[in-house]
Amino acid sequence: MVWKKSRDIARTMAIKKQSFGFVTKGDIMGYEFDWSVLITYKHLLVDGFLMTLKLSIIGIVLAFIVGSIMGLLRINKNFFVAIFASYYIEFFRNIPLIVQIFFIYFTFDILEIFPFLETVGNKLNIENHNGFFSALFALIFYTSAYIAEILRGGIQSLPKGQMEASKTLGMTSIQSLYYIILPQAMKIVCGPITSQFINLIKNSSLAMTIGVAELTFQTQEINALTFRGFEAATAVTLLYLFLTLTTSLLMVIIDRYALIRTTSISIKGV
């Protein structure tokens, strides 16, 4: 039966003398590509891109700060502090991001709890305050849990001797963390942290489910207005590619110039 179908197809194709190739405006057997919708609706794409940028930049900065704090708390000597941090990490890692977004959005009224966010939102030209900040908080919680785990792994992979040596030199815990441990740990975890930043940028697309007008939302919007989903999706794909490649590039630059250089970090047992 499959053979018969494919024979029919081949026959029809031969009769119609197909040509394969993408043209800018014209059709491929019934689907007319119309790339001009991207120009007519470019304000939607620009708005979406800016919204994704806002979510991503604020999210990355805050997630890094919170994640680092939680990561350090996780390896604290105090049992209760460590348990508290591990509750946080396990809780926000194991619940899917979309569930967190919905929970925060539908259960809390963010502007009631944090009134100052209204002014922040107005400064950033956001219309849907509740949606934006619910998505932002969920993104920060989720990503910071992962960053905390990564940082913990990075610090624990350093030889224990480092901490002991710095203590014998008379440094306090905080001093040894700041001068000795963290610089090396940052170098180790730079790669995985870059992945988490890229994940945050991609996860910002989930905000569309609660109506935040970011890039993926605009794909749907253009599709709903013009039924040209393919062109819209192509444009948005390119924009996401641009965002992720730029982030990777920025992190590579930071890695090369800002982080210390160490030659041999993981010599176990020394």
């Binding site: 929970f103 989930l206 989903g229 393919f230």
Partner: protein
């Protein structure tokens, strides 16, 4: 004091877990009393509702069962495709390597929602137009295809990392024994790579399990969608979404603990 406490708990793990559960329940009750005093769990979580969330609509696969089935099928398919891609990425023949690189980088840069939209909306239209055939994908199959395409890029990276960690000497030894490249891969290299990759693949499985909730956007009735459908009818979001978060947490947490245990067993095997 806290040091001896952690030592005590390490020895008596069951007490630790029981106390954890009690503590979590207490915190949740306090949270609920403060933020949402009028919560009514009995009305929201009736037997009918729970059955709907776990099993979906009648005559159809749905609910939590569908979530597991989806994750399982996708991880197996993406394991196969990802391995092939990873080997292609690792090889030094340009013609095989470049398409693999393009594929991996493309799917790692796209959000999963976009991949789902591409597969469900865009591909049938354009594919049908190119081949002059109207074909359409059901929502479920688009979901599986989208998850497979997406995860295989990640698995390919894991496979590549595993291949990098294998000594080149293995390849040479295989060649001296007279095997061709396919035999070398199947009998010598891949078994070793898979042993090393198991923890990473399992963590991808857990992550995929959580990401199946995204199939919400193409209206497949999985666990999360079922919960939102009920929420749409009775508008009791706190109760329902707490339940959803709770179930997801239990499943993902258990899976990742199992994965950790498996990783420890494999480590022991590798190093004896």
């Amino acid at each position: 004091m806290s040091e001896s406490l952690s030592g005590y708990f390490n020895r008596h793990k069951y007490i630790f877990w029981i106390l954890n559960i009690v503590f979590i329940i207490i915190i949740f009750i306090l949270f609920q009393k403060h933020f949402y005093p009028e919560a009514n769990f009995a009305e929201a979580l009736t037997a009918d509702n729970i059955k709907f969330m776990l099993f979906g609509m009648e005559d159809e696969l749905g609910g939590l069962v569908l979530t597991f089935v989806l994750a399982f099928i996708s991880i197996i398919l993406s394991f196969i495709i990802g391995s092939i891609l990873g080997i292609a990425r690792y090889s030094s023949i340009k013609i095989i390597k470049i398409p693999a690189v393009v594929y991996i980088e493309l799917f790692r840069a796209l959000p999963l929602i976009m991949v789902i939209f591409w597969v469900y909306f865009a591909i049938p239209i354009v594919g049908g137009a190119i081949f002059d055939m109207k074909f359409s994908l059901s929502a479920l199959s688009s979901g599986i295809i989208a998850f497979t395409l997406f995860e295989s890029a990640y698995i390919a990276e894991i496979v590549r990392a595993g291949l990098n960690s294998i000594d080149k000497g293995q390849f040479e030894a295989g060649k001296t024994l007279g095997m061709n490249i396919l035999q070398i891969y199947i009998f010598i290299i891949l078994p070793q790579v898979y042993r090393r990759m198991i923890p990473a693949i399992l963590s991808q499985f857990v992550s995929l399990f959580k990401d199946t909730s995204l199939i919400y956007v193409i209206s497949v009735v999985d666990f999360f969608r079922a919960a939102t459908i009920i929420n749409n009818r009775i508008y009791m979001s706190f109760e329902i979404f707490s339940f959803v978060a709770f179930i997801y947490f239990i499943c993902a947490f258990t899976l990742s603990k199992l994965a950790n245990k498996l990783e420890k067993t494999v480590e022991k095997q590798l190093h004896t």
